[in-house]
Symmetry: C2
Subunit: 328 residues, 2 copies
């Protein structure tokens, strides 16, 4: 029996809580503790046995942690944290600013390589599982088109944008993929789809006392970048409804590849996720990739890696023999 893989969690928001929860479902992994910038005694973990330490104590745990899962944000935390921590630990993060991945990769790769660490970057579902499916689509059907649809999902950025509108007390926004557009893609016709064709936006808004609903609605649907390019509907609700019916973080989406293997034959590949909790699923992906990260480090595969570099078998608790026998 191998020893368990020892995991540390750096950062304890909804993603960190998801990782703590996911580790319970993976008997070959063991949680060393949560590392937070807050005062440890002010943090209440999901499970009473979970230990909480201050982030400054991390340096003392270099020999006790096999993989450190970084649960900070892509905007302010990870660009600084990952390059720094990848020189001391094997790491997994969910850096998801797509446009900045190449520079992030370089910033992480150098210290990881220099210190024989493995740093798994941009793991999750997009980037992550969706990226893998975009790659499979292109590689298996080179003559084709890939379409990514998101939703139905709560968008944090768009919800924030609504809340900044004058007269809005609270609100959430859902991104909804267009069934029409998806059906066209699935038919094999390789349609050209505009931004407006692919997704609609649904807003649920609680007004400030005395606010003008028509004015608020107008301000939302015409907001550039966020709503103007979409068909947007605004629903006004009371605070209790918001609290009861819109307190979850569902998300998901679809990656569809439509391509031809010959003039006569169209082929459609589709991958989709329907998530009741976006952070818990992302966390679950991070945890499986932590297993692969540890194994690749043991195999001498150092430096920054992405989901494209990970053989699927490395994600599983099962041995290669078991996998071939049971699920191939």
């Amino acid at each position: 029996m191998q020893h368990s893989i020892r995991i540390g969690i750096a950062g304890y928001g909804s993603l960190g809580r998801g990782v703590e929860t996911a580790i319970q479902k993976n008997p070959d992994l063991q949680l060393v503790g949560i590392f937070t910038r807050r005062a440890p005694e002010t943090v209440s973990p999901c499970f009473t046995e979970t230990k909480v330490f201050h982030m400054d104590a991390l340096v003392d745990f270099q020999n006790q942690i096999d993989v450190l899962i970084l649960c900070g944000g892509s905007k302010d935390d990870l660009p600084k944290q990952t390059p720094e921590l990848a020189s001391k630990f094997n790491t997994v993060d969910s850096f998801d600013t797509h446009a900045r991945i190449p520079e992030f990769f370089d910033a992480v790769n150098a210290p990881a390589l220099a210190n024989k660490k493995t740093a798994m970057i941009s793991i999750g579902w997009d980037p992550g599982m969706f990226s893998i499916n975009r790659l499979f689509g292109e590689a298996l059907l080179p003559d084709g088109e890939t379409y990514t649809f998101w939703g139905k999902g709560l968008s944090q950025g768009h919800s924030d944008a609504i809340r900044r509108v004058e007269g809005v007390k609270a609100g959430v926004q859902y991104t909804i993929p267009s069934t029409d557009a998806m059906d066209k893609v699935r038919s094999g016709s390789r349609p050209e789809l505009s931004t407006r064709d692919k997704h609609t936006r649904e807003c649920y808004v609680v007004l400030e006392g005395g606010a003008d609903a028509a004015k608020v609605e107008q301000a939302i649907v015409t907001m550039p970048d966020y709503f103007a390019d979409y068909n947007t509907t605004v629903n006004f609700i009371d605070e209790e409804t918001l609290r009861n019916e819109h307190n979850r973080m569902p998300h998901g989406g679809f990656v569809i590849r439509s391509g031809n293997t010959s003039d006569a034959h169209n082929q459609v590949m589709e991958f989709s996720l329907k998530l009741e909790s976006n952070p818990e699923f992302t966390a679950s992906v991070l945890v499986a990739y932590a297993r692969a990260c540890y194994r690749m480090n043991q195999m001498g595969q150092y430096g920054a890696k992405t989901a494209f570099d990970v053989a699927p078998g490395l994600l599983s608790m099962k041995s290669p023999e078991q996998l071939r026998k049971e699920i191939l």
Copy 2:
């Protein structure tokens, strides 16, 4: 610019034709020729520039072929061919007798290892892409259930079984996944499904002159192993309809994983294929894995490999840098 990867095709049925066609869509691959057990001059390739050789000539091509794609059948050809040819070539095959994969792996692994060759076995969509998605499902949602549905698809084995019934002149059989069952799975309820719940079988039959339709129908729907455990419908058609409307080889299916990341949250992952030509898609998968096979051999990864051992990035024509920039 790297040199193209040089591909040989061993065996020239519908799968071999699919590989020949797929290579046209992959500019970094180059077809050396088709190797057949028939007299080469009796074989008409899909493209006039394709060269056809006798299988006995293969030995002379060891230095001219980077990867040999084996397009024979799993029952009689591959169990003999792959172990033999994997000592001389890097190979890719579509061995699909699930229960015999472990012994096939061993039989191929030894000669490949001994001769520093890479032998990619059991590639295609099931085993292959479906297996990868079963693995992703288990690894990312350990607390869950996986459901595989096949179809709508033409089943060769079941079509053959129909044609052996007395009074049947010709016929085809389609396997149809149950929409009801799939919807139950997608709802997150993790239903227990019997064989009869998951698929129905649809037969299109041309009768011999004077045959008794009721008797034929009865013989089909009660046939053990093939039809007795399913809800089977039998449609009688004339020969022209069979020729015009049932001359394709569509297939596909669904791998659905439903699991919980916590008591509160269910998550559903789904992968599906809708294929107008089963052999052409399988061929297209083989060709992408031939690229990975060549690269893994160059990296010194010898022996038998399955889809579980292949990092997704190795399948792509694009460089790791391009992949991170464009589709991660």
